[in-house]
Symmetry: C2
Subunit: 235 residues, 2 copies
């Protein structure tokens, strides 16, 4: 009972910081995604596949969250892009202040795409805005097709569902069509890509989704820039 | 910052309620386990395998937690033992008060073994005592062998690690010996069983572990009863 008002206060403080981050990302033309899943669904593997596919002149930054260890940052650093580990030391999610601190020392003008890998947890990270353009939820086919119904908040909030480990479909009792149906029951119109980070299947559609979001962002920016110029001309 | 004192207060209130539950369990000779894992690691499947293996005259009760849906209670009810779903409606863990309420309407004298399936979350449930005799952590081989290092709290607190889905070992890059080593690095002397709820491999050792805990509890009770009787005789 008594917890609610403080939880609201913490979340509204987080919202304030996240709004600041979002404004900075917009100002510097950074497209930011927040990847959320259970532990072991394959967020880091998806990032590995992504980074190995991007040209070296891509201006990507990665913040990766964990309760303990810098394993993920070490795995991701070998692709040559700037990577920073955020170790929460017990906290079950990343919050906007951790992202602010994580960005310290980076020139935001040098980044076009910021990928945030959240702590492995399908529940709590859904409540914390990090200033991202979109949340992305990763669900692996070993986890059961009813997960969108059991953990609706993140499926409702994420723009994209990445159904990972499809190479394991022959070995697990997972109905992938039912999983998609359950996700769209919670979030009609949700984008979905099926991938295997092990075989590389589906990585192209995933990269195409990222690219499409980039075009949408550029188009939105262009639209917002034109009226500004028009206004300037009228002054 | 400001969150900590209240979190401590919430946890100490939970500890108080959990101590009450533990006393009631002891009084009624109930052995209680709290199963914790990520979503989809196989807690419900493990319970299904357990319930199908137990004789119908076993006096077992099951409380199963989820944020939404009563899917798990429906899956587990078909074995004929009393099952209740606890739907948290958003909360990322079970707490002692939810267990208290879940037990309402059950005659505790009719239960010998109480199995609690927590919300799928490898982080937050570790902080909440439910009055159990032991926490049990389930990790599936699809999740990566570094999880004990990344989520140390639950591996430190659990008496037993159930390494599930070993039937998938040929298809995933999971080093099961490294996983056990990581778990024992966090918690030396931790018990570990390897199981596949799909094939039934390892279910016998798991049942034997439960049985052994029951004998330990009975032995502890007998020890505590004797001095009481002795005290009574001296009055």
């Amino acid at each position: 009972m008594e917890r609610l008002p403080l939880e609201k206060k913490v979340l509204s403080e987080n919202d304030r910081l996240a709004a600041g981050l979002r404004a900075r990302f917009r100002e510097h033309g950074i497209l930011c995604f927040n990847l959320i899943s259970s532990p072991g669904s394959g967020k880091t593997s998806l990032l590995e596949r992504t980074l190995e596919s991007l040209p070296q002149n891509e201006r990507v930054g990665i913040l990766t969250g964990d309760i303990q260890t810098d394993n993920d940052a070490r795995r991701l650093a070998r692709f040559g892009f700037p990577v920073k580990q955020i170790t929460t030391g017990g906290t079950c999610h990343l919050d906007a202040r951790m992202i602010e601190r994580g960005l310290e020392g980076w020139r935001l003008l040098d980044i076009d795409l910021l990928l945030i890998e959240n702590v492995g947890n399908l529940v709590c990270p859904a409540s914390y805005d990090l200033g991202e353009a979109a949340k992305i939820v990763v669900l692996s086919v070993t986890e059961g097709e009813d997960k969108p119904l059991k953990y609706p908040s993140i499926f409702f909030k994420a723009k994209l569902l990445v159904l990972n480990k499809v190479d394991l479909l022959p070995y697990v009792p997972f109905d992938i069509d039912a999983a998609e149906e359950n996700a769209r029951c919670i979030h009609p119109g949700m984008d979905i890509v099926r991938v295997s980070c092990t075989t590389g299947d589906g990585i192209q559609p995933w990269l195409a989704w990222l690219e499409q979001r980039r075009h949408l962002q550029l188009a939105a920016r262009a639209e917002s820039v034109v009226p500004e110029r028009a206004r300037a001309a009228l002054r």
